[in-house]
Structure formats: C-alpha cells, structure tokens
Symmetry: C2
Subunit: 474 residues, 2 copies
Amino acid sequence: MTTALLDSLRQIVGAAHVLTDGDLTAYEQDWRKRVKGKALAVVRPASTAEVAAVVKACAAAGSPMVPQGGNTGLSVGSTPDGSGTQVVLSLTRMNQVRAIDRDNLTMTVEAGCILQSLQETADKEGLLFPLSLAAEGSCTIGGNLGTNAGGTQVVRYGNTRELCLGLEVVTPQGEVWDGLSGLRKDNTGYDLRDLFIGSEGTLGVITAATMKLFPQPAARLTAWAAVPSMQAAVRLLGLAHQHLGAGLTGFEVMGRFALSLVIKHMPQLRVPFAGLDGAPPYYVLLENSDSESEEHARERFEALLEFAFEDGCVLDAVVAESLSQAHELWHIRESIPLAQAEEGLNIKHDISIAASRIPAFVEHTDALLQREIPGVRLVNFGHLGDGNLHYNVQAPEGGDAREFLRTQEDRVNQLVYDAVALFHGSFSAEHGVGVLKADKLAHYKSPVALSMMRAIKQALDPQGLMNPGCILQK
Amino acid sequence: MTTALLDSLRQIVGAAHVLTDGDLTAYEQDWRKRVKGKALAVVRPASTAEVAAVVKACAAAGSPMVPQGGNTGLSVGSTPDGSGTQVVLSLTRMNQVRAIDRDNLTMTVEAGCILQSLQETADKEGLLFPLSLAAEGSCTIGGNLGTNAGGTQVVRYGNTRELCLGLEVVTPQGEVWDGLSGLRKDNTGYDLRDLFIGSEGTLGVITAATMKLFPQPAARLTAWAAVPSMQAAVRLLGLAHQHLGAGLTGFEVMGRFALSLVIKHMPQLRVPFAGLDGAPPYYVLLENSDSESEEHARERFEALLEFAFEDGCVLDAVVAESLSQAHELWHIRESIPLAQAEEGLNIKHDISIAASRIPAFVEHTDALLQREIPGVRLVNFGHLGDGNLHYNVQAPEGGDAREFLRTQEDRVNQLVYDAVALFHGSFSAEHGVGVLKADKLAHYKSPVALSMMRAIKQALDPQGLMNPGCILQK
C-alpha cells in the first residue's frame, strides 16, 4: 500500500519531489526544535492541480497529511508525528505571484510565497503589504493564513485574517474550491474563507490567496517612551488612538527586565531610558504612519507625546530623528527573544487579554508567580496595541534553566493560563494551537465551542486525514 | 403537540410575549413587502436564558425557528414561510448595552439593540461606532451581524464582520456559546464567530456581541465631484486612498440618471453639476475623516481634488463648507432609492465586483441590457469604495412598471447576474441571500463551496430547524 502510494505521488509531482531518504530534519522538526517526527514522505507539489492529485491519492490510501509552509510555526502545527505514516505536503514550490491588481489594491499569491518577498513585491509597485513578523524571511503566506499570524502592524491593519479577501483551497477530498475573490463585500453564504484561515491545515490545504494591499504611507516615524506603569501604557494607547487615528501602526510594550537582558547581551545597542538604577518599569515603542509628510507625522507625534507627558502617563520620550534611528529602536524590541535565549532556556507564552484588563492581569500574575516560584524572572513584552503579551518566564538567576523547565514548565503554564482564563483572555493570541497546545484547547475552550469545532472537522474531513492531532486532540 | 409547545413557550417568556393572534404583519411580512408568511407564534424572549429555553422547546417539538431582529432585511431572511408551523424568534426585547470598555475600545451589546441607539451610545462616550446604513433607525445589531451588513463607512471600517470581536450564540440545540471576547487576537481553534456572522440565523441565534469602537474623528468633511467616466471614478478612488490614507471614510458613486430622478422627484434638493444638458455621466461623494482638525481635513481634501483635476479624473468638485451642506450632499445620495420608488417599481441589485473590473462591467452590462430590453433605464449607484453597486433597473419611460416586473424581472436578473459572474463578482454584496436569492446561490456559487456549506449546516443543525430555506434551499 505504502509503495503504491509513493509511486502515485512520484507520478504526480515527479520523483525528485517525493523525498523519503536522506536528512529530512528541516521538514520533520519544528522551528523551536521541541519535536522531531518521521514522515512517510515529503511531497512538494508545484501547482494546485498537483496538490489536489496528491490529496486524492493520500485520501484513497488513507494516509494522513500534514500541510507545511516555511515550517517556522511556534506551536508544532506543521510537522509529522513519529509514526512514519504521515505525508508532509510542502507548499514551498508554489511560490508564484499570480496577479497584482493596483486599482483593486489586491494581489493574488500562491501559498508558498515567502512573506518578505510579498512585502517586496508590493513595495516595487509603490504599495504596502503590511503583514510583518519576526519569521518573515522564512515563513510563507500559506502558513501565515493557516495560523492567522499577527505581528507588529496589527493595531492598524489587523491579523492575516483581516488582510485576506479570498482563498483557493484543496479540500480533504482533493477537490479545488476557487474562492479567490478580490471582493470587499460578498455575502453569499457561510464564510468559508475565515473558517480555513486559522484552521492550521486541519480542514484542507490553502493553495493561494487574494490579499489586500495599501497605499505606502508618505512617512513612518518611530518613538520610544518610558512609562511609570502598565496602566500608564494602556492610557498612552488610548491617547495614541485619539491623537493619531489610523496613523497608529505600531504599539509595543516592553518590561524593564526584558530590556535589561538586551542591555546585558547586546551591549552595542543603546536602549533609551532603561539602563540606570531606578529606571521606569515599562517602555513603549510607537509607530506613526502618515499619508502626508514626515514633517506632519513628527508634529502629530510630538503633540501626542507632549500631551501624554503633561498627563503623566509618559515620563520621558524620544522620536527617532532618522530612519536608521527608527530601525535601531525596532531592533531593540526585536532583540528581546534573542537576548532571552542568550540568558538561557525559558518558558514562552503568547497570550491576549482586553487592554483594559492587562494592568490588573500583570499585577496579579507577577505576584502569583513570585509567590509560587520565588526568584522567577518575568520577560514581559508584546503587542499591547492588540492586547497581546509574550509573557515569558525565565528561571531564577543562576539556576539550572534546563532543570527549571523540566520541573516547572507545566506548573508555570498552568498558573499563567489559569490567570489568563480568570481575566477572560486567550492562551494563544497569534501562534495558533498546533499539537503543542491542543491539550490547552481541550482544557480552556468552552465545551460548546469545542463540540462545534469537532462537528465541523467531522463534516469537512470525515476521514480525519488532515493534520490529525493538530488543534483538536486525536 | 402545537398546544403543548405554545404552553411551554408561554411558561418561558410569559404569555404576553407569545403572540399568536391579531395582526402579526410586522413580523410575518418582509421589509419590501415581497412575501407574507404565517407564523405558528411570535416569541419575544428577554434574555439569553430565555432564548436558550425557547430553542430547546422548539427543538424538542421539532418546530422550525426563524430568528428576527428589526425585520428590515432586503432578501427575505427573517420572515416565516406560509406553512404556519414556524416560530418567529424576535430578539427586539434583548436590547441592553451590557458593557462599554473605553480602554479596550469595545462595547458588549445584546442582539436586539437598534443600530442607531448604538451609534448614540458610542457618541455619548466620545467614541465612534461606525456602522451606518439606511435602515439604522429600525434595524438591530443582531440582524446586522446575521447578514454581515455593509453600508457607507466600509471603505474605512469594514463590514459588520470586521467590527465584531466576539459573539454569544444559542446553538440549534439550545446551548449557549459564550464567545463574548473583547480580544483582538485569539487563535484558539476554528473561527466560529465569522461562521455565525452572515449565516442569517441558519446555524444558531446570535444573542449578544462585542463590537469595536473607534476614537471620534476631529473632523469629517464631505466633497462632491463630477467625473467623466466610471474609469475616472475608479482612478479617483486610487488617488483618494493615496492622498487621504485611512482618512477616506466614504466613497459613493452615482450615475447621471440616478441623480436625474432625484432632481425630478425632490426638486428642493440642489444636486451639484448634474442638472444641465450634457452633464457628466458619473458623480462621486467622498468623505474624509481627520484625527487632527477641520482645517487640516480641508487642506488634504483640496490637495486631493486639485491633483485629481489636473489628472483629468475630476471635472468639477466642491467641498461642503458646513455640516449642513455635508448633510445635504449625503441626503442626495440617500434619496436615490426614494426617488426611484417615486418613478415606479424597479428591479434592485446589490452586486460587488473588483473595483478594477467595474468600468468594463458597467460598459458591458449597460450595452447588453439596452440591446436586450430597448429603452430600459439603469439606476446605477453605490459604494464604489467597496466595489459594491446597486445596479438597479427601471422600466422604459412611460411603460407599465408592474407589467415590466412581471414579465422581465427574471430575465433582467439573469442578464445582470450572468454578467456579474463573468466579471468574477458577487450577486449579493451586502444584503445577504435570504430566501429570496437562495436559488441564485444554488446556481452561481461553486458546487465545492455549496457542498461544504451543506456539510456545515448538517453538522451544526442536524434537525434542520434553524431558518430552513434561507441561504440553502430546502
């Protein structure tokens, strides 16, 4: 049976694109190297028709499939299990930009396109594709859609979901749904598009998408502010919305300890206001995009910061004077995960809570963790504009990080996720569920919602062959 | 059986809220008076618990249910059929604003809240709830969600879908799903929220929702431009995006004949540039919202219009000097449906097409209709910013409109919808499918999509009791 399936797959995509031998680690191991599986084969189709034929062949053989893009996911959602029975369906050869429609402000792209290349494609047209996140040099738009990726521009442009107008999908039965519409309004029946977005390859394979484009702003300015508390950061967010309107394109928060790790491990970076004793507890990076001019952007930014300073929610602030200064400020923010890795293994979270509840959540959970695990260090940073925190936990100073993870990870997760639930938040804001957090979904999600999800999964994939164990536990 | 059910319903909501006698036309007839059905009863629950109990009682009795809000829908999606067996579930007593969260920029509201009252609620808080459409004085937010209503601010703020962060839903089994999250990022499993939005009461009953709020703009300005062609209108749209960025909050197009009906039937309205012989073929109403000041908004608007004039895509333009002038311009736009009604019965369409394809679509379809039905008059207007046209068809001058509809409506619909399909558009942009267009869905929607929709309907509503015949034909 297996031989017959492999023969069929080779006929469909060519023998060179059915990988079974050699080192397949890049396909079989997840990005953070938490899990290494074993694939029956890695199949690399080059067209929608090939994807459909591959899915049909696997379905006929009863072989489970794991769709995969750049394999940069953080929740183990695109690697095979250890059984050696799953076919990895790698979309990376489907990397064509099928169309750019300037008048409609859309582009239609294949699932395997690298995110950064799509940003560049738009840029060449004088347009903006705003999705931006750390893995953009490696991740694919198909993966972004499958996980509904977020990133740093969500406060203005939304998640991947909000950037997508239409999809092309191969169903678990190997049929092609052409939903590649460039329409901004289309109320003809159930919203299948949004059902597939964020379904992490468990309901079908996204092969192409029509994405929104935007005019390039005339200027983008970055500011950095020290704030006296998380409550003040939330207050600043409200003022920024009010003063900048849709000009507000980025609003990141960083805790003092997170920045102290950057200062320690990347001493070449100058971190404003954060290095001294008695430095403020939180810092905010703001981005203001302007459709008019840099001068206008600067005026608006300065008016906001002056108001916020008078108001007391900002202690000190600086607006980047040049593009390179702006990049430097963003670089500090983006260096936190690396600085954290330098400091040692740690426990990562990707949570969201209504902005209004974040100050109380942080106060509650900081104290709780300190009480339960004395000396634990909190690396708190994230996209406050979207209520999304990467509330990460580092072992106590000088402790054995590996041992800490081994003995404390489950407990820390439970403490944090219980607190998130208490504050009506989500245990997965932008990274998805994958296999890694499927148990959390089973525990924290409403049973009514879970039961509807299972019914939908059963309805669309009755054989249960699409990415089994991802999102919904087997 | 029926008596037992009615007794149960009376016990749940009180006898006064189970209507079976007297004139129930307001509940049994659709807004445009195309269909009048007969309900078994109209039930008016006042709480989510009551809705759940009503649904459980109906499900146990095998009685079909038709959820209803303000009953202002344009596609016959919220009235009972003629069988006398369906229970109308009116949500209008569920009209509480449960919470306003200023820091999170959200409000949680019950399904029966009138749209205009929600706009006013936000306004009192100094915030904006941007959803705005003709029926806002009567329609409910539950109905807006059920049909994913659009309106005049979509170019900036999106459809109702994009304004909703979370839902509370009573399932067809009478269970309550509390998905009332105020989260802007939440990737924990399938997107049930967007599945219910736009499902027109066929998958469950939306009882409450958490909706986004926005800062009030500092100024809103309105302009009116005459343009030489539809192509020029599309060009102006691109320039407006570029010059105004997210300031562009409205972009409406109107054909000369549509405006000539306003001039004829509302002679008190002064319609700029449109009254004379040889007047331009199309007119655009633009709205620019500014987070800074009226002065700034005016500068930006004038810069845009000057550029567009030089470019040739604008022939003449005026920016409203006062709020009352702005209202007057909007009033002209909003008077088109009334002027049309004054002129006589007509055939309405609510179509969407990628903006880039609209000029060719209009040229093709105008010519086609003139050829097939000589003398036919096209009342073309709509939300060009969203690619949404109300491409309506009026009987030839002096003809018998009733006779025209009787003999030509099906043919006109087929000509128009076939043309829409040819240009990859949608036959229902913002009005939904309802019972009225269920046959169009069966005809024009991809069979793969239809089959997935049927599978989802069967999975969530296996008894088939929720609004049967709406969207999917029985």
